[in-house]
Symmetry: C2
Subunit: 351 residues, 2 copies
């Protein structure tokens, strides 16, 4: 597939900086909310193939972003585990109930047949690519640590105390579970890519709660294996995303992902310095910056676009998901601005 | 005052690495919980001069740490503001109710007489230093941004969306409020130091939610003014503490604080590299690491102690407050271990 987003992700020069936004199909779009209101259960929505295709395409149509991302959820690969009950409560976020003791978690997560249990994800990917073959589609999954943290915490967390205690006090159990989750996630990712996804993003959203030492000792190898198995089986570009990891980019850069996605807690310039200019970088506007007035916002975007030119290639994104109260008009304006401004920057640097 | 903690804080060589822990007087100690149970209102406890002196000394007696920190709370300087109602709900954390509109916050926070309204804090400091004159006492306050975030969010937060929106959309109002808070905090800090506190820590606990660009544009000047006014009025060493700021230590190092306290999200070694070896550093064990078995914990502590020797001086601490379920026996053991190990490291480096 030849497209600006894919070219940038492969480290090739592009005429402008491509962009997409995490959670771009989500609650900030009135069109999304209208469709969402037909489902009492969020996961029922995720499994409705036709509607999932429709909302996956929504930001392409409405915002003119350069790539679509599969409409789904990090928790989807947890649903088939018989000993987990996964639900999303509108005001509280995700709730994961474990049937059994945490100390026996490695025995409670029985591997399942990904292509059978999550067949609807494959149908969404295939259906999307059949309908919109020229639109690049990003598949995704959570990274093993982040997925594990939902299980151990029973949902979201601020301190991740339970997850860390689980690692420190039950290391063997922890490693068995991580092996299990990594295997399932590899199958899930390969499945999405074989069904036609053009690129893949691994969301390690909560790994920034760890120290660099913990990341190195307890997390790195699972992420690396996930990435390497993917590269071996389906040769398509991979993005590794995390937040709060400014102090461990030195370790993260050793992952064999094609692109490293960073959050706003470090300047893109400093991140490129640490990660190296031979790597594709993605990021890194603070989602709340979309509430700034446009002149202020332009300044921040300009800094990011300029710094991005010092990387091998740059994909503009937010540092985390777009917030529900964001004004869609601002986002539409922003996509246009990023495209225009990044073209201008390239030509002024050529002069 | 000549003492290992104070010498280190002043950048002088010491025979061992001194240590203390944030929230060291708190809920993890059974002796503290016994006293706390006599008060339904937490702030009533903070204002009970005799009891506050007692719990301030508790960790010196029980844990043998090298410094005491005033028993109080970041929210104490908000209590006298007539248009704020500040309370702490045991299960929910702090709740701050604003009587009036956020858009008029700068008019709602009328300056008050610190020495009168917070006279009990002065009495605790004086009383402590009278009773324990050889024990170094750290006074403290929240940094202006962190204190403001409690007011705007109405308590704790995960995303700090309201605070950022307030800054972006009401910059003039924001700057007026920050001026007001900075002035009050300067008076509060000077008051504590003049009453006899030997050092001072500024807690910028939540500033890591910002981008380095936001920190530079909206926060830096208030912290710098707070520090500089303190240094001008009372020449005692100042520690600047923050969390989640690994990506902005480049900016933070420009603050004129004597010591920079960092969290566990960056290795101490990398932090010293960024901040420079001509600065005193404090940190940086993950509070959850205290749940590790001792052999694992030793390894992490050793790395920190060794890295600390590359700084001008090092004060061992956690990256944030000690957690309530921490075993006091582990903490006692840790203090002894830090003292012994850091002596050994110094002599082995001399050989």
């Amino acid at each position: 597939m030849d497209n600006t987003f894919i070219r940038a992700l492969n480290g090739k020069p592009t005429e402008y900086t491509p962009c997409w936004f995490m959670r771009q199909a989500g609650r900030f779009l009135p069109e999304y909310r209208a469709i969402r209101s037909n489902y009492s259960d969020f996961f029922e929505f995720c499994a409705d193939v036709e509607k999932a295709i429709e909302v996956t395409y929504l930001p392409i149509r409405e915002l003119k972003v350069d790539a679509a991302i599969l409409f789904s959820d990090l928790l989807v690969p947890l649903i088939p585990y018989k000993n987990l009950k996964v639900s999303i409560v509108e005001t509280k976020g995700p709730i994961i109930e474990l049937k059994g003791k945490l100390a026996e978690l490695d025995k409670l997560l029985e591997p399942y047949d990904v292509e059978k249990e999550l067949s609807y994800v494959g149908k969404i990917v295939k259906g999307f690519k059949k309908k919109y073959k020229n639109t690049p589609l990003i598949g995704f999954c959570g990274a093993p640590f982040t997925v594990l943290s939902y299980i151990v915490e029973g949902g979201s967390s601020k301190s991740f105390q339970k997850t860390k205690e689980f690692i420190y006090k039950n290391e063997k159990n922890y490693r068995n579970v991580m092996e299990n989750l990594t295997n399932i996630l590899i199958k899930f990712a390969v499945f999405q890519l074989q069904c036609g996804a053009d690129a893949f993003q691994i969301f390690d959203s909560w790994v920034g709660t760890l120290s660099p030492e913990d990341y190195r000792e307890f997390v790195f190898e699972y992420n690396q294996r996930l990435i390497e198995e993917l590269k071996k089986k389906v040769d398509k570009p991979i993005i590794y995303f995390s937040t709060g990891t400014s102090g461990m980019l030195n370790t993260i850069k050793e992952l064999n992902a094609d692109c490293i996605s960073i959050d706003w807690r470090i300047s893109l310039k400093d991140a490129v310095k640490t990660i190296g200019s031979e790597r594709v970088i993605q990021g890194n506007l603070d989602p709340v910056a979309l509430f700034m007035d446009r002149e202020k916002l332009k300044k921040r975007v300009d800094e990011i676009l300029l710094a991005g030119l010092s990387a091998k290639a740059h994909i503009f994104n937010l540092g985390h998901g777009i917030l529900p109260p964001t004004d869609p008009e601002t986002v539409k304006w922003l996509v246009k601005y990023i495209h225009e401004k990044s073209r201008d920057l390239r030509s002024s640097l050529m002069d």
